[in-house]
Amino acid sequence: MIGTNDAILNVNNLKTHFRTDEGIVKAVDGVTFSLRKGETLGFVGESGCGKSVTNLSLMKLIPSPPGRIVDGEVLFHDRDILKMKENEIRGIRGNKISMIFQDPMTSLNPFLKISTQLVETIILHQKKNETEARKRAIEMLELVGIPAPAKRIDSYPHQFSGGMRQRVMIAMALSCNPEILIADEPTTALDVTIQAQILELIKALSEKLGTATILITHDLGVVAGMCDTLNVMYAGRIIEKSDVSTLFSDPRHPYTRGLIKSVPRLDKKTGQKLYSIKGQPPNMIGMPECCPFHPRCEHTMDICRRSYPAAVVTESGNSVSCWLYHTLPYEGGVK
């Protein structure tokens, strides 16, 4: 399932650290993954686990100081983005790889008309004159379902609702036909009925335009409906990497299992108590070289406290970083 064949993006051993007064925070600590053409890849994990920092690092958008990408490579069509000069990256950012952010209220400039903001992107990247760019912008607004786009294009952001603003963001992100769309919690600030609209839109457009999508979210329900492959992150590392149906039917890492069990579900009526993972996510400062999940894990062994488990490839071709699968051959699940 996970191969590097026809991958357009290969990330190897990416490490992004932040310097704070209390010590170094290893926000991303050795992340490796690849993205194939047209694939939808999900990143799930709790707040502070490094999913957003990983994806900001891909575009070199880490504020420095305090942040610094200390190691690793990000190969986009076999060229390392991290080694590129700033003006080269600018040709990729917003053009070949673009982003949608969580908060549609703050990611648009409130002083500028939608037209100015959309046309700017298109002129900058697509070598079009203003009339052509404006025509393209109106096309894009129509594509994302803004009613009367030719009129609405001259409105200001505050004249749109939250869901509409997120549509404008999507139009902007897709206006240069990017190969990769990174959506960082695109629906977290929206209501469920609007969330359903936006997810359908992202899915339909990425299929239509052949865009590969990276979807970052904490909502397991959202990834279940949207993604092909999933990376589960915990404390700066990818702890499990799996195709979506295996991840939900046969999760391997104790954290993934706990996470799936602790979500209340509409379709299951158990009347039982909800499972909960004890404790809290770890403090990321000065984390020792051990499995970061061991204080909360139900299967902690001695070795978990001493060193970090390398990723093991399972028989379904997925991978998991847990000592349970190093010592024991897999026998239909750990009880």
């Binding site: 469920v192 990834v223 279940a224 939900f248 996470l259 979500v263």
Partner: protein
């Protein structure tokens, strides 16, 4: 059958919209709650669900008398809270406490945990509404900390030293300090991570069975509401459109809005997600700034009829304890 602890009758809360700098003049009003009625029985949990801006939080705040209602009655324990004087109200407040959404904004950063949890007790002691000694107060604060799963060793720490989930526990301990009967929980878990969310939900349901608490539980997450609630009320644009037992409303939703809401909620299972048919509502929630003459859901309803345009459907009992406000099920 238990008796109703709280009864809300035709409650309205309209906020004035004013214009002018010096001489303000009311030019309109935001109809945050526009005539709702419901009751909560003792020991029950009523889940209030709906999209942002539909009036869920305003409902809780109006019940707690943080806002003075424009019209309607709030009958708690047989007394109408809206007509009480401020001294009478203070005494009654002992029985109604709130837990807030944002565990960062709802705790005073300059107070220690003990001070925060003990504050309601100190207020009631100072107003001579409660006979309790200083020593009893600090014992009670420690007892509550242990009760909500915090070590009493933390008693002299400040809120910034705690994580979001722990802070929410502090907020819950504070709400329990006066031994209330009713807790109004306004999105208590929506700011928390999944693994912490389930800890807090379990804590709330344990406390409910131990102290026979009654909850009004507000959330926008349908699965959370289903897990915690005995009855569920769905709100849209300041109106309640459907109320029923939690088991029934999820199995057999009647109102088109409830149906759409349920079908929009993602389920964490890829096999089910693949097969599901979604009702995707078009458009956004309209602004509540004008009086409506037809059904409040008319603009977005996929099953609208001619009759819905000029008649407002009343919340009507169709089945056993299943109330719905929709002309698909009765005639005007």
């Amino acid at each position: 059958m238990n008796k109703a602890l709280l009864e809300v009758k035709n409650l309205k809360m309209h906020f004035p919209v004013e214009e002018g700098l010096l001489f303000k003049k009311q030019v309109g009003s935001i109809r945050a709650i526009d005539g709702i009625s419901f009751e909560i029985k003792e020991g029950e949990t009523l889940g209030l669900v709906g999209e942002s801006g539909c009036g869920k939080s305003t409902t809780a705040r109006t019940i707690a008398q943080l806002y003075r209602a424009t019209a309607g009655e709030i009958i708690f324990n047989g007394r109408n809270l809206a007509s009480l004087s401020s001294t009478e109200l203070l005494a009654e407040r002992k029985n109604i406490q709130m837990v807030f959404q944002d565990p960062y904004a709802s705790l005073n950063p300059r107070m220690t945990i003990t001070e925060i949890i003990a504050e309601p007790l100190i207020i009631f002691k100072n107003r001579k509404l409660m006979n309790i000694s200083r020593k009893e107060i600090s014992e009670r604060a420690e007892f509550l900390m242990e009760k909500v799963g915090l070590s009493s060793l933390f008693r002299n720490r400040y809120p910034h030293e705690f994580s979001g989930g722990q802070r929410q526990r502090i907020g819950i301990a504070r709400a329990l300090a006066l031994n209330p009967k009713l807790i109004l929980a306004d999105e208590p878990v929506s700011a928390l991570d999944v693994s912490i969310q389930s800890q807090i939900l379990n804590l709330l349901s344990d406390l409910q069975s131990e102290y026979n608490l009654t909850y009004l539980f507000i959330a926008h997450d349908l699965a959370v509401i289903e897990y915690i609630s005995t009855r569920v009320a769905v709100m849209y644009l300041g109106k309640i459109v459907e109320v029923a037992d939690s088991r029934i409303i999820y199995k057999k939703p009647l109102h088109p809005y409830t149906e759409a809401l349920l079908s929009a909620a993602p389920i964490p299972d890829p096999e089910i997600e693949k097969k599901r048919k979604r009702i995707v509502l078009s458009g956004d929630v309209p602004s509540p700034d004008r009086e409506r003459t037809g059904c409040y859901f008319y603009d977005r309803c996929p099953r609208k009829m001619e009759v819905c345009k000029d008649n407002i459907p009343k919340l009507t009992e169709t089945d056993d304890r299943h109330h719905v406000a929709c002309f698909l099920y009765f005639n005007p």
